[in-house]
Amino acid sequence: MSDFADVLDTLIPLVGGALVDKAKDEITKLSEDADDPTKQIVFALMAEAVGELGEDGLDIAEAEIKRLLNGRTPDLDWASPRTASDAVALLQNAERDRKKKAKAAIQKAGKVFGTIGALFFKAAVSGAMGR
């Protein structure tokens, strides 16, 4: 997120009237150069917000991208269908990863409880045999 904040700090003074197109081009270039899919989507959303909404676009993009990255429902009406699809794919893949981790944790917990259960069972049986 620090990259995102840096970009905003640099570009907010640029975004105004005639400089909107230049800002959009700069952010688009950052999106193309980004090595991480999340960064690519963030920059693509910012570029499209500036292109569609002008100088107000960065503020709106910042608010909605924060909602997206914090797991809340973003309003991406201004984004192109392909960028909006990328953002939804990001959320869907994040949900899949969370579920995989939860499933692995449940399986691990199941094994631990199974082991403890077996120990209690053995103790109960040996206790009963000893009577």
Partner: protein, 122 residues
């Protein structure tokens, strides 16, 4: 111990992402309907674009003469490429699909005029 359970549940509940519990059949039917609406509209829109939209002579910039055609074409290409993958992911995340979809969504064809052919099965 039971006195601790309720405050603990409240505390843990605050950390969790909001989740919904749905009837599986209704959810599947809804999803099928939205998918059908999107893909059928995309097919009709493709026909309208092919019949009525004019290509822009400068291939470097916008591909269509009319900006509305440009936007419509972008929707058609996105829906044709991604609708099925998003639906599969919705079903997978709901635990309603046996085969896990790939992590990478399909590529969306670049915008061009005339439109590239629709993917097979569309």
């Amino acid at each position: 111990m039971r006195f601790l359970a309720l405050p603990l549940l409240v505390l843990l509940g605050g950390c969790a992402t909001k989740a919904v519990l749905r009837d599986a059949t209704t959810y599947q039917v809804e999803l099928d309907q939205y998918h059908k609406w999107a893909t059928a509209q995309a097919a009709y829109l493709r026909g309208f674009i092919e019949d009525h939209c004019v290509c822009e002579s400068d291939a470097e910039g916008p591909q269509f003469d009319d900006p509305e055609c440009e936007k419509a074409a972008d929707f058609v290409l996105t829906i044709e490429a991604r609708a099925e993958w998003h639906k599969q992911m919705s079903l997978w995340n709901a635990g309603m699909l046996q085969q896990e979809p790939p992590a990478q969504p399909p590529e969306i064809a670049s915008l061009s005029c005339p439109l590239p052919p629709a993917p097979a099965g569309e």
